[in-house]
Amino acid sequence: MAYEVYDGEHQLRVEASRLEVRPHDELFEVEIDGEKKIVSISRISPAHLSILLDGKSYNVEVERFGKKYQVTTRGEVYEFSVTDEREVVTTEKPQAGGRLVVTAPMPGLVVEIMCSDGDQVEAGQGVLVLEAMKMQNEITAPASGIITGISIEQGASVNSGDGLFVIEG
């Protein structure tokens, strides 16, 4: 099966097929942008692969956050979306005139709310302050619109992903 791997800048087509499962590694034939390579992969731990390719040895750490893969090797960090070629590719467009639910990007304490329901805000305007790990982080409006559903109170603890407020465009 082929995958589209996209880091925000480069789009690569990668097709890998398992040739052999051995006691300490697996051999794959990988076709990347039309070029075929034989790759030995040893999965040291869930997040840690040892890859041998043309004699080069790479310790590669792969972490998945949702559908994004964050890959670290030799000090470089890459962030990819990996899409099955057969999937319908829909580009997420910014919603015009829609409804945007803003959620907490990290767990924390709501120390200040600077807007009220019904306020008109500009994109980038501060809406509330979330304190996490002794640092105060201002959560700003991702788009211009009207604040409609502030769902938390000052002093509340929120978890990552909890709804904070809604902006209607």
């Binding site: 990668v14 790759v39 790479y58 956050f65 559908k67 994004k68 767990p107 105060q136 201002e138 991702p142």
Partner: protein
């Protein structure tokens, strides 16, 4: 000589483990305290004894002096070590210790109080003949005082909280029309952070170097310095990388700064371990900044080049021993660097909390780790994002840097974002490598990425994705949604 055979460590994280290690090595029983969020934290497991002192927020646990004193007494401790942060610079703790017959491992309340007040400290230093930055000698009580002081000093000026520290209540002002509003904001911030709105003003030095002297002072008037630390790699007045020795100091300048530091300590009646911070301008003039009346985060670089265990010396001094060293005994062996590893995005410095799924620590020649984390550890959201420190030693600075790069490559902390990629960028920066840098370095570092390993990374992502397709995604749905949202939010958060 007072007996210290049991110490309560009034802290958490890597510094609590560091102090417990010194106790272990000297046969002292270590007592940890912990909040409800920290039951399984490393410092609790490391100590010989451990007692819960309250709910997760530090104002209800690590900052409650009464609970800490009570626990120390109940456990039969003779002494309390405050570490850094939390209560380490609060004179109420040494005062409470004295009242209850406990030894505080640090200076007495009076000198801590004196040095904690920035304008008072400036006056003491000026009197002792130590160079201070031009500016106001008293808190500025009115707008007219501020305007007068600023035009006398000359722009740019820096407004600072008299009771302050850690960058709170600080404003750079470049011209008179910014001055009064900046003054009002600084006052408000100082009041909220320190309960004291006093603001004073200094000449703002553009991109100075931050160089500090480590000192040790016993209770008998003996004071020595243990060389300098260069701490110019800072962001928002928070140090990120420190090293010793500083490449710009020759032994003559080191001697002058050391003498100034010793004079500063003697003038304030300070004892135990402390640090005198200086700013150094591009002409090599140095100016008193402040005294940190405690162990510093970056104390290991000094330990690496002097071979002296500062925590053990702190305990010896507190028990009433005389200093074991004269100034002539203190040499410089090689070079050492420290990188502070935080749970933060390496580009935006936004906090990254989460669960440490995998942990591989570097080792080998010249590498030391001071860590407060372990594998399978859920980082609490309530405390400082500092996870650990990597310290490397080399025969020379070049070797220390090479070892740091190797150590950072070996270090794997999976589950949260860390500042490791940021440190790598600094360490290969031409100015840093040549030793030619100042506090402006972080602002000019670029976060570009090479595409050298793009293909191998893409292959790895594909292989893992193929494998992931076999597992059930249901449990990940929420995380997936969260990702999309935080993706949309990108650029919508700023640390303030």
């Amino acid at each position: 000589m007072k007996d210290i055979s049991k110490i309560l460590i009034a802290n958490r994280g890597e510094i609590a483990v560091r102090i417990a290690r010194a106790c272990h090595e000297t046969g002292i029983t270590s007592v940890a305290v912990f909040s409800e969020a920290d039951r399984s934290a490393k410092h609790v497991r490391y100590a010989d004894e451990a007692y819960e002192i309250g709910p997760a927020p530090s104002v209800e646990s690590y900052l409650v002096i009464d609970r800490i004193i009570e626990t120390a007494l109940k456990a039969g401790c003779q002494a309390i070590h405050p570490g850094y942060g939390f209560l380490a610079e609060n004179p109420a703790l040494p005062a409470a210790c004295v009242a209850m017959g406990l030894i505080f491992i640090g200076p007495d309340a009076d000198s801590m109080l004196l040095l904690g007040n920035k304008t008072e400290a400036r006056k003491v230093m000026e009197k002792a003949g130590i160079p201070i930055i031009t500016g106001a000698m008293e808190p500025l009580k009115s707008e007219s005082e501020v305007l007068a002081a600023a035009s006398e000093t000359g722009y740019p000026v820096l407004l600072k909280a008299a009771a302050g520290g850690g960058g709170k209540g600080v404003r750079v002002v470049h011209s008179e029309d910014e001055l009064l509003s900046a003054f009002r904001r600084a006052e408000a911030e100082a009041l909220s952070a320190f309960g004291n709105p006093d603001i004073f003003l200094e000449k703002y030095l553009i991109d100075p170097r931050h160089v500090e002297m480590q000192i040790l002072a016993d209770n008998y008037g003996n004071v020595i310095h243990l060389n300098e630390r260069e701490c110019s790699v800072q962001r928002r007045y928070q140090k990120l990388i420190e090293e010793s020795p500083c490449c710009m100091l020759d032994s003559a300048m080191r001697g002058r700064m050391g003498e100034a530091a010793i004079a500063a300590v003697k003038a304030s009646g300070y004892t135990n371990a402390g640090t005198v911070e200086f700013l150094v301008d591009s002409s090599g003039n140095f100016f008193f900044l402040e005294v940190n009346t405690r162990l510093q985060v970056e104390h290991p670089v000094t330990e690496m080049i002097t071979g002296i265990d500062l925590v053990k010396e702190q305990i010896r001094i507190a028990s009433g021993e005389k200093l074991r060293f004269n100034q002539e005994d203190i040499g410089i062996n090689g070079a050492a660097i420290e990188c502070r590893i935080s749970a933060e995005d390496p580009e935006t410095f936004l906090p990254s909390v989460g669960y440490i799924r995998e942990l591989v620590e570097p080792s080998g020649p010249g590498v030391r780790i001071e860590s407060g984390i372990s594998a399978d550890y859920d980082i609490p959201v309530y405390y400082d994002p500092l996870l650990s420190k990597v310290i490397t030693w080399g025969r020379d600075r070049q070797e220390a840097i090479a070892r740091m790069l190797r150590a950072l490559d070996e270090y794997k902390i999976k589950g949260v974002k860390t500042t490791i990629p940021f440190h790598r960028k600094i360490l290969v920066d031409k100015g840093f490598v040549e030793g030619n840098y100042n506090t402006g370095i972080v602002a000019r570092i670029e976060h570009h990425r090479t595409d050298n390993f793009l293909e191998i990374a893409a292959i790895a992502a594909t292989i893992v994705a193929m494998n992931d397709e076999k597992v059930d995604f249901v449990s990940d749905m929420k995380q997936d949604d969260r990702w999309k949202l935080s993706g949309r939010m990108y650029g919508g958060i700023r640390s303030i």
